[in-house]
Symmetry: C2
């Protein structure tokens, strides 16, 4: 029975990592389509959304099956519940990537803004957070998960900076309001992807240590 459960849990791990890899791909593609003004790449990202949705439902069904058939306890129960939640976060991140790609598709067919916006820097940190949150899941590494939490403020600051620049730009370029609003959305979506990675990291900490750290100030959580 236990061996069977362990096999099921291993299978679940493979599936959630497969989902994670797909979502990482979507984020990478969305950012590249935005920065490179590449509408074909944007369309590719949008087209792959359905598959992510399918995998999310499969993983959720698998989690529920394991709970019903094996009635796991302690660390196994926490693992299955963490996967259930992380799966949900990954699907939301995938949706945000698709939304960025939609903005990118619009922007690629409109004149670019003459303003320096560091989407690459913001995306790099966000993608690193996502990668680390998934690595922390694979290696059940709460320390790495804490690093993800610590980066979230930095991405928030980058988003605020982007907001200030675009707000100023719009006041001076009333003919480029729609383009500016699309860029603003892309920045906000990146920031929400970073939030999603933070949620995943918090679920990993819970899984490893059995403690719910979200809503706790980060310093406090680090002392735990």
């Amino acid at each position: 029975m236990t061996t069977h459960l362990q096999r099921e849990i291993e299978g679940l791990k493979k599936r959630i990592l497969h989902m994670g890899a797909r979502v990482e791909d979507a984020v990478r593609g969305a950012v590249a389509s935005l920065v490179g003004r590449d509408s074909q790449l944007a369309e590719d990202v949008i087209a792959r959304d359905e598959k992510m949705d399918e995998i999310e439902v499969e993983i959720e069904e698998e989690c529920l099956k394991i709970l019903a058939l094996h009635q796991p306890v302690a660390v196994d129960l926490r693992y299955v519940i963490a996967v259930l939640k992380i799966n949900n976060d990954l699907e939301r991140i995938g949706d945000l990537a698709v939304n960025i790609a939609e903005r990118a598709a619009y922007l690629a067919s409109h004149p670019g803004l003459e303003v320096p916006l560091d989407y690459e820097g913001m995306a790099e940190l966000t993608q690193l957070m996502l990668k680390r949150s998934l690595d922390s899941l694979v290696n059940t590494d709460a320390e790495l998960a804490r690093q993800v939490r610590a980066s979230d403020d930095e991405v928030d600051a980058m988003n605020r900076q982007m907001y200030r620049i675009l707000e100023e730009y719009m006041a001076q370029h009333s003919d480029q309001i729609p383009e500016s609003l699309h860029l603003l959305s892309a920045s906000r979506h990146l920031e929400r992807i970073a939030d999603g990675a933070t949620n995943i990291a918090e679920d990993v900490i819970y899984m490893v240590e059995g403690e719910i750290v979200r809503h706790q100030p980060e310093d406090f959580a680090q002392q735990q």
Copy 2:
């Protein structure tokens, strides 16, 4: 044992409804502070966020305790998992309400826009969706939950309309870009609250019928 489990599940139901009532209050207060340009009310909503976060963690711990101690199956298992997910959605809706209140606090201390924006109409439908999603949970009423899903497109359309009006306004009033952006955010947050209510409704349908309907076109789901 079963009776004990039933009691625990009844307790869980009370708690999630208490959380739901608080979140509904927060949304109502946030919208009233926005429409009435009432910064004191906005601050009240913001101040109550911490309590919602606390209740969310308590409910999640309760769900995990029930899963670990009682190892529920079938409809009871689905109920506990649905509450776990709905709890998460409610907390996110609470955060969105707080975010609207933050926008309202800013807007109350700045000149109003001379433009007709129907926040009341949009908020009314959104709040109705939230109320119905919680009612569908109390009464395990999948039919009512389906009505919530059906309203989501309407709120999306209202948000797009708000976006068009504000985009136009910004192009003509370059001195009111910050105010317009705050109003745009409030509309988008309302739309995301409606999405949250839709998620809750989908979890109720799953709980009642054991079928995951999200990502399915609504017509298809209705035929099931």
